[in-house]
Protein backbone atom coordinates (compact mmCIF):
# COMPACT_ATOMS: atom_id res chain seq x y z
CA UNK A 1 0.00 0.00 0.00
CA UNK A 2 1.47 3.37 -0.99
CA UNK A 3 2.23 5.47 2.14
CA UNK A 4 0.68 8.65 0.84
CA UNK A 5 -3.11 8.71 1.10
CA UNK A 6 -3.17 5.87 3.65
CA UNK A 7 -4.76 8.24 6.19
CA UNK A 8 -7.35 9.35 3.65
CA UNK A 9 -8.12 5.76 2.73
CA UNK A 10 -8.53 5.01 6.43
CA UNK A 11 -11.01 7.88 6.70
CA UNK A 12 -12.97 6.47 3.76
CA UNK A 13 -13.08 2.98 5.23
CA UNK A 14 -14.05 4.24 8.68
CA UNK A 15 -17.04 6.06 7.19
CA UNK A 16 -17.99 3.62 4.45
CA UNK A 17 -21.42 2.73 5.80
CA UNK A 18 -22.50 6.36 6.08
CA UNK A 19 -20.97 7.19 2.72
CA UNK A 20 -22.79 4.32 1.00
CA UNK A 21 -26.03 5.43 2.59
CA UNK A 22 -25.74 9.03 1.49
CA UNK A 23 -23.36 9.18 -1.46
CA UNK A 24 -23.16 5.84 -3.23
CA UNK A 25 -22.03 6.39 -6.81
CA UNK A 26 -20.58 9.81 -6.09
CA UNK A 27 -16.96 10.91 -5.76
CA UNK A 28 -15.84 11.85 -2.26
CA UNK A 29 -13.06 14.36 -1.58
CA UNK A 30 -11.06 13.44 1.51
CA UNK A 31 -8.10 15.24 3.08
CA UNK A 32 -6.49 13.56 6.06
CA UNK A 33 -9.42 12.80 8.38
CA UNK A 34 -11.86 15.27 6.79
CA UNK A 35 -14.52 14.51 4.21
CA UNK A 36 -14.77 17.73 2.23
CA UNK A 37 -17.60 16.99 -0.14
CA UNK A 38 -19.42 14.66 -2.52
CA UNK A 39 -19.46 15.25 -6.26
CA UNK A 40 -21.22 13.73 -9.25
CA UNK A 41 -18.11 14.15 -11.39
CA UNK A 42 -14.57 12.99 -10.58
CA UNK A 43 -12.90 15.99 -12.21
CA UNK A 44 -15.12 18.39 -10.27
CA UNK A 45 -13.94 16.76 -7.04
CA UNK A 46 -10.29 16.91 -8.09
CA UNK A 47 -10.57 20.56 -9.17
CA UNK A 48 -12.21 21.46 -5.85
CA UNK A 49 -9.41 19.66 -4.04
CA UNK A 50 -6.74 21.70 -5.81
CA UNK A 51 -8.73 24.93 -5.35
CA UNK A 52 -9.16 24.45 -1.61
CA UNK A 53 -6.01 22.56 -0.64
CA UNK A 54 -3.39 23.37 -3.24
CA UNK A 55 -0.83 20.90 -4.57
CA UNK A 56 -0.95 18.44 -1.66
CA UNK A 57 -1.98 14.79 -1.52
CA UNK A 58 -5.72 14.33 -1.23
CA UNK A 59 -8.05 11.49 -2.09
CA UNK A 60 -10.91 11.54 -4.54
CA UNK A 61 -12.69 8.22 -4.36
CA UNK A 62 -15.79 6.70 -5.89
CA UNK A 63 -18.17 5.54 -3.17
CA UNK A 64 -19.03 1.98 -4.08
CA UNK A 65 -19.76 -1.34 -2.42
CA UNK A 66 -17.18 -3.14 -4.53
CA UNK A 67 -13.97 -1.68 -5.95
CA UNK A 68 -13.42 -3.15 -9.41
CA UNK A 69 -9.70 -3.20 -10.26
CA UNK A 70 -8.44 -1.63 -13.47
CA UNK A 71 -7.19 -4.32 -15.78
CA UNK A 72 -3.99 -4.35 -17.79
CA UNK A 73 -3.53 -7.29 -20.12
CA UNK A 74 0.26 -7.00 -20.31
CA UNK A 75 2.98 -7.19 -17.68
CA UNK A 76 4.55 -3.91 -18.84
CA UNK A 77 3.63 -2.23 -15.56
CA UNK A 78 6.00 -4.50 -13.57
CA UNK A 79 3.86 -4.54 -10.41
Amino acid sequence: MPDQLSQELGTYEANIDALLGAHEGKFILIYQDRILGAFDNQMDAITRGYDELGNVPFLVKLVTKVDVPLSFVSNLLAV
Partner: protein, 142 residues
Amino acid sequence: MPSFTTQLPNLQALGPVVDMRVWVGTAVENALKKAGASIPQPVPAKGMIDTGATSSVVQPALAKSLGLQPVGIVNISTPSSANVPCHQYLVRLVFPNSVVVETLAIEAPLQGQQVQCLIGRDVLAHGVLVYTGYINQFTLSF
Protein backbone atom coordinates in the same frame (compact mmCIF):
# COMPACT_ATOMS: atom_id res chain seq x y z
CA MET B 1 -9.27 17.73 -35.75
CA PRO B 2 -6.05 17.67 -33.72
CA SER B 3 -3.99 14.66 -34.63
CA PHE B 4 -0.49 13.31 -34.96
CA THR B 5 1.07 10.62 -37.08
CA THR B 6 4.17 8.65 -36.18
CA GLN B 7 6.20 6.48 -38.51
CA LEU B 8 8.71 4.00 -37.10
CA PRO B 9 11.44 1.81 -38.63
CA ASN B 10 9.70 -1.35 -37.42
CA LEU B 11 6.29 -0.80 -35.88
CA GLN B 12 5.79 -4.46 -35.08
CA ALA B 13 9.07 -4.75 -33.14
CA LEU B 14 8.92 -1.38 -31.37
CA GLY B 15 5.20 -1.02 -30.84
CA PRO B 16 3.24 2.21 -31.27
CA VAL B 17 5.73 4.41 -29.41
CA VAL B 18 5.60 8.18 -29.60
CA ASP B 19 7.95 10.91 -28.36
CA MET B 20 5.78 13.00 -26.10
CA ARG B 21 5.85 15.08 -22.92
CA VAL B 22 4.10 14.69 -19.60
CA TRP B 23 2.95 17.82 -17.80
CA VAL B 24 1.01 18.75 -14.69
CA GLY B 25 -2.77 18.88 -15.05
CA THR B 26 -4.60 22.19 -15.51
CA ALA B 27 -5.91 22.28 -11.93
CA VAL B 28 -2.37 21.61 -10.67
CA GLU B 29 -1.01 24.49 -12.74
CA ASN B 30 -3.72 26.78 -11.38
CA ALA B 31 -2.98 25.72 -7.80
CA LEU B 32 0.74 26.37 -8.28
CA LYS B 33 0.07 29.81 -9.81
CA LYS B 34 -2.25 30.65 -6.91
CA ALA B 35 0.50 29.71 -4.46
CA GLY B 36 3.08 31.74 -6.36
CA ALA B 37 5.09 28.60 -7.07
CA SER B 38 6.95 27.92 -10.29
CA ILE B 39 5.25 25.78 -12.91
CA PRO B 40 7.41 22.79 -13.91
CA GLN B 41 8.22 22.34 -17.55
CA PRO B 42 6.73 19.35 -19.38
CA VAL B 43 8.97 16.31 -19.08
CA PRO B 44 9.98 14.42 -22.23
CA ALA B 45 8.98 10.77 -22.31
CA LYS B 46 8.52 7.87 -24.65
CA GLY B 47 4.93 6.70 -24.53
CA MET B 48 3.44 3.53 -25.92
CA ILE B 49 -0.19 3.30 -26.96
CA ASP B 50 -1.57 0.25 -25.16
CA THR B 51 -5.11 -0.79 -26.04
CA GLY B 52 -4.90 -3.37 -23.25
CA ALA B 53 -4.47 -0.69 -20.60
CA THR B 54 -7.62 0.59 -18.92
CA SER B 55 -5.78 3.72 -17.80
CA SER B 56 -2.68 5.62 -18.81
CA VAL B 57 0.42 4.96 -16.73
CA VAL B 58 3.47 7.03 -15.79
CA GLN B 59 6.68 6.00 -14.08
CA PRO B 60 7.22 7.26 -10.53
CA ALA B 61 10.23 9.33 -11.61
CA LEU B 62 8.04 11.30 -14.01
CA ALA B 63 5.50 12.14 -11.33
CA LYS B 64 8.28 13.08 -8.92
CA SER B 65 10.09 15.32 -11.40
CA LEU B 66 6.85 17.25 -11.94
CA GLY B 67 6.23 17.62 -8.20
CA LEU B 68 2.89 15.89 -8.58
CA GLN B 69 0.91 14.74 -5.55
CA PRO B 70 -1.49 11.79 -5.68
CA VAL B 71 -5.22 12.49 -5.89
CA GLY B 72 -6.48 8.92 -5.94
CA ILE B 73 -5.76 5.28 -5.30
CA VAL B 74 -7.03 2.49 -7.50
CA ASN B 75 -6.44 -1.23 -7.50
CA ILE B 76 -5.03 -2.73 -10.65
CA SER B 77 -4.72 -6.27 -11.94
CA THR B 78 -2.28 -7.66 -14.48
CA PRO B 79 -1.59 -11.21 -15.69
CA SER B 80 0.86 -11.66 -12.78
CA SER B 81 -0.74 -9.60 -10.02
CA ALA B 82 -4.13 -8.87 -8.53
CA ASN B 83 -5.52 -5.87 -6.69
CA VAL B 84 -2.31 -3.89 -6.43
CA PRO B 85 -3.00 -0.35 -5.13
CA CYS B 86 -1.53 2.44 -7.24
CA HIS B 87 -1.59 6.19 -6.93
CA GLN B 88 -3.33 8.38 -9.50
CA TYR B 89 -2.03 11.74 -10.73
CA LEU B 90 -3.68 14.50 -12.76
CA VAL B 91 -1.53 15.01 -15.85
CA ARG B 92 -1.59 16.47 -19.30
CA LEU B 93 -0.14 14.27 -22.02
CA VAL B 94 1.42 16.43 -24.72
CA PHE B 95 1.73 14.70 -28.07
CA PRO B 96 3.30 15.90 -31.34
CA ASN B 97 1.56 18.78 -33.11
CA SER B 98 0.68 20.18 -29.66
CA VAL B 99 -2.11 17.64 -29.19
CA VAL B 100 -2.89 17.71 -25.44
CA VAL B 101 -5.05 15.28 -23.50
CA GLU B 102 -5.71 15.66 -19.80
CA THR B 103 -6.24 12.51 -17.78
CA LEU B 104 -5.71 10.70 -14.50
CA ALA B 105 -2.70 8.46 -14.91
CA ILE B 106 -1.72 5.74 -12.49
CA GLU B 107 1.82 5.34 -11.24
CA ALA B 108 3.61 2.06 -11.89
CA PRO B 109 7.27 1.06 -12.24
CA LEU B 110 7.28 0.17 -15.96
CA GLN B 111 10.61 -1.35 -14.99
CA GLY B 112 12.83 -2.72 -17.72
CA GLN B 113 10.74 -1.08 -20.40
CA GLN B 114 11.87 1.31 -23.08
CA VAL B 115 8.96 3.63 -22.34
CA GLN B 116 8.15 5.88 -19.40
CA CYS B 117 4.46 6.16 -20.13
CA LEU B 118 1.60 4.00 -21.37
CA ILE B 119 -1.24 5.65 -23.23
CA GLY B 120 -4.35 3.75 -22.26
CA ARG B 121 -7.99 3.53 -23.22
CA ASP B 122 -8.77 6.57 -21.07
CA VAL B 123 -7.03 8.64 -23.77
CA LEU B 124 -8.23 6.51 -26.68
CA ALA B 125 -11.81 7.02 -25.46
CA HIS B 126 -11.61 10.54 -26.85
CA GLY B 127 -10.15 9.77 -30.25
CA VAL B 128 -9.54 7.58 -33.25
CA LEU B 129 -6.47 5.36 -33.53
CA VAL B 130 -5.45 4.18 -36.97
CA TYR B 131 -2.71 1.57 -37.03
CA THR B 132 -1.39 0.96 -40.54
CA GLY B 133 1.03 -1.89 -40.03
CA TYR B 134 2.24 -2.38 -43.59
CA ILE B 135 3.69 1.15 -43.70
CA ASN B 136 4.86 1.14 -40.04
CA GLN B 137 2.67 4.11 -39.21
CA PHE B 138 -0.04 5.04 -36.74
CA THR B 139 -2.23 8.11 -36.32
CA LEU B 140 -4.11 9.29 -33.26
CA SER B 141 -6.80 11.92 -33.84
CA PHE B 142 -9.12 13.71 -31.46
